[in-house]
Amino acid sequence: MSTKYTQELTYGFTRQVAPPVRETRIGVCSAYCGECSQLIEDIQSGCAQLQSRKFAQSGGCQLMLAVGIVSSLTNAVIIVHSPLGCCSGFVGTSGTRKTTRATRGKRSEEFVWLHTNMDEQDVVQGGIDKLRDAVLYAEREYHPDAIIIANGCVPGIIGDDIDSLVTELDGRLSAKLVPIHCEGFKSKYVASGYDSAYHGLLRHLVEPVVKERSAIPDVDEQRGFADGYRISRTVNIFNVGSNSNGDEVELSRLISALGLTPRVLPLNATLDDLAHIGEAALNVSICATHDDYLLGHLQERFGTPYIIDTLPIGIRSTNRWLRQIAAHFGLEAEAERVIKLENDELNKALEPFRKLLSGKSVYVGGGETRILTTAAFFKDELGMRLVGVKAHNVDRFVEEIAEELHDPQLEITVAAGQPAEEVAVVKRLKPDIYCGHMGANGWISRLGVPNLPLFGMTLNYMGYTGAYELARKAAKVIKNTSFFKNVSEYVGLPLSREWLATDTRLNIKESEAV
């Protein structure tokens, strides 16, 4: 089984040194202002993919997303092969590793990263020698399980051959050496970084385990039966950087309720976990933007079927997510029992929040699958009025979720970042509540619109308990909006009056050559 979105996609890229970028592999729209139904049409015809902006703001870098995945791995040292700026955000976030790991019951460990600190001389002469020094330092000082090299723009442009270094050191280190090709300039679609990270994982860390052979008669056979049964009931849930431990606990709970064994991968995993990644009956995505590349390749390598469908946020999406998993194992009746029990309980619990939120207008901005499922929850399950959405990018994976909103005229902006456009749109639509991506909410606060974050590494959003938490948060934020009122009065916005008065659609243009 695969999934209808990936039927036309092919995998088999792991013989290449670097993965293809998503622009060429999947096709993606990153600049659009208009109606939801028109956008889906334009994506199908291919013209939405060719647009870009006249006035642009900073979105993101695929290196950040790639490193976000691999830096979570247990006992790994990251080497950023670049000048000092790339991933310098580690200075602020490295401390959160402790809580990330503690909430998951994992051993505390200090996060160690190195920068090759490329300078002008390295731009001329190449930085491989410094990279080699850094690798040897990491091996000597920290004895990690993996040393992961993230390649930045500068070595990418000047042509540093990091793969040759990996070949040179092959077999001479106790750590696995993993190159990640995630040069920022190579893709405007930052989610390419997930493919880059998983490409490195697939090539260097995911290797089938060699089974021990027992000298005692029959032991291998018995063990084989036991393993076979375990694997036939195991479901891999693929976590993402934006989900919390609470989300993982909730989704695992639902899989367990079907009588299956959940296993959460690959973030925060050990190398041993990754080595056993193929031992599952089904791989399940919770966010198509993250992992079709990984799941597609795992099917090729281990034959593990996968489901890439919706993101389990809100009641309907969670039901759908669960039904699809259950169907794979022929557990439809069990699923319906779980769904009925959970839905009844949850609907009752949501009543007080529906009273508070019903009829209130809401705008949602962020990653495509998350915003559309979150918006559907607000609209269809809490009775809120959805006035618009903003997606970082839009690709094939959300066609069905968008259709299920049954709102073809819904105003949609496609933009990674671009708060100037978003502020103009939100100012015009004046929603009662805004729910958005990190980096956007602050600008909306300056507008005076009460808002809450679309995701959080410590907050629950997924499954039934996540739906309750999301409703609770939305109701909480309107209990006191003084912060937003004060901020809008006394902290300014840099946007010009002319800009705010201009239709944001005029900022979209036909792209220059791709």
């Binding site: 000048p83 401390g95 190195l114 920068h115 791709v514």
Partner: protein, 444 residues
């Protein structure tokens, strides 16, 4: 030649340029680079500089050309031209500064030339590719451009006006509090301090900084380049000084400035005496508990050269702690290191600190262990305890290993929020005392 760095406490020159520009009021940066540079670097300072925020037009609001692979092949100058034009339309500002990332500098885009074409509309350009070096290099590049393009030369100088260089917004997490206190202190001795980033500044005010008769550089290296440029263009001499922290540091600072500017010595001494009285009026409150509970600590200071000596001197000379080891992470040149080490001659404690220059964060623990005899299972062992680490967030692991308290002062600081807090001056000395000692009682 530079080496790799373990857990560097810097971003790149572009990061330094952006954090500097974010510190200037109503200034709009235009980043000519790949799409992620601007917001990632802004995120570094938003998250690791005591949550300083994104300023007037930083963070995701940063204007950027978002160049991609096709521009790397065909050039990105047309894209920059279009972006400047549209930024002038979309964003209000008193000054627009084009800064550059690695990609466009390697391919040879003439960003400064394009910016010059917009000079009649308050646009200037600076070359700030990441490979130029660390944060501090970016500060120097931007400030030199401000000196060249914003500060208007003034043949008439005011002997009671000085410019302050070397305080890097964000990299000095407490820059706002520090600069406001320096401005207040100098005001007491009749001197107007031009701080660039302090409260109430504007580009209009910066234009008149040429009237200052002296530049004061508060870091050993950072800030010298723009100060020197101002000397060339406007004849303003500069002196090297240090961020003054607490009574002994601040008194020395005021006397140094008084001598340079020819201030009335009795006025300077009167101000020192009254500020000192203010300091000890409050400091007196902790005398009993300090004495009853023995709040003296072995201090291990890990910071860049801007803070390292200033902090060590405060805890040793004013607080009476034992300055055991000071590790400095930013000076690479041996001669600079030797000169910097000499600064510690003014530390008055009986025990003098070991001063090491180390940029690999993971090596500090080895310096500490190498500086103190190991316990070889002795019954009577004189331990390096009680110890206190004054450093950055990166030293959390070090403090844990040493079973020491930790106060984060040097960049990065992500375990506390800094608004108008500062450690400069007599009053900053009180704040630092509060913060250090609060760590000792925080578990109660």
């Amino acid at each position: 030649m530079s080496t790799f760095i373990e857990r560097p406490k810097f971003s790149c020159a572009l990061g330094g340029a952006l954090t500097t520009l974010t510190g200037l009021n109503r200034v709009v940066p235009i980043v000519h680079a790949a799409g992620g540079c601007a917001s990632s670097l802004a995120g570094t300072y938003n998250g690791a500089a005591g949550y300083r925020g994104v300023g007037y037009c930083g963070g995701s609001m940063l204007s950027t050309t978002n160049i991609a692979e096709n521009n790397v092949v065909f050039g990105g100058e047309d894209r920059l031209y279009e972006q400047i034009e549209n930024t002038l339309f979309a964003l209000d500002g008193d000054l627009y500064v084009v800064v550059t990332g690695c990609q466009v500098e390697i391919i040879g885009d003439d960003a400064r030339g394009i910016a010059r074409g917009f000079s009649d509309r308050n646009v200037i350009g600076v070359s700030t590719p990441g490979f130029l070096g660390n944060t501090l290099k970016g500060y120097d590049a931007v400030m030199t451009a401000i000196v060249e393009n914003v500060i208007e030369p003034s043949p008439v100088k005011d002997t009671r006006e000085v410019n302050i260089f070397g305080v890097v917004p964000g990299h000095d997490v407490f820059y706002r509090g520090n600069l406001d206190e320096i401005e207040r202190l100098l005001g007491l001795v009749g001197v107007k301090a031009n701080t660039f980033f302090g409260t109430g500044n504007s580009i209009a005010k910066l234009r008149r900084y040429g009237a200052a008769s002296l530049s004061v550089v508060l870091a050993p290296e950072t800030g010298i380049q723009p100060a020197r440029r101002l000397q060339e263009l406007n004849g303003t001499p500069y002196i090297l000084s240090e961020l003054p922290i607490g009574p002994s540091g601040t008194a020395a600072f005021l006397r140094q400035l008084g001598a340079e500017l020819g201030l009335d010595g009795t006025l300077v001494e009167r101000v020192i005496a009254s500020e000192n009285a203010y300091f000890y009026d409050f400091f007196g409150r902790i005398v009993d508990m300090y004495s009853d509970l023995d709040w003296q600590r072995y201090a291990i200071t890990v910071a860049d050269s801007y803070y390292a000596h200033a902090l060590t001197k405060f805890v040793a000379n004013d607080l009476g702690w034992i300055p055991h080891l000071t590790a400095v992470n930013d000076l690479e040149n041996e001669q600079q290191q030797a000169e910097y080490a000499k600064r510690f001659d003014d530390v008055t404690s009986e025990l003098r600190p070991a001063v090491v220059f180390e940029q690999q964060a993971g090596q500090i623990i080895k310096h500490v262990r190498g500086s103190w005899g190991l316990n070889r299972n002795e019954k009577y062992y004189d331990a390096l305890s009680p110890a206190f680490v004054i450093g950055s967030g990166i030293e959390a692991g070090l403090a844990e290993t040493l079973n020491a308290n930790l106060l984060t002062v040097a960049f990065p600081v992500s375990n506390r929020v800094a608004l108008n807090r500062g450690y400069a001056g007599f009053r900053g000395g009180l704040t630092l005392t509060e913060d250090l000692l609060s760590q000792l009682v925080s578990a109660r």
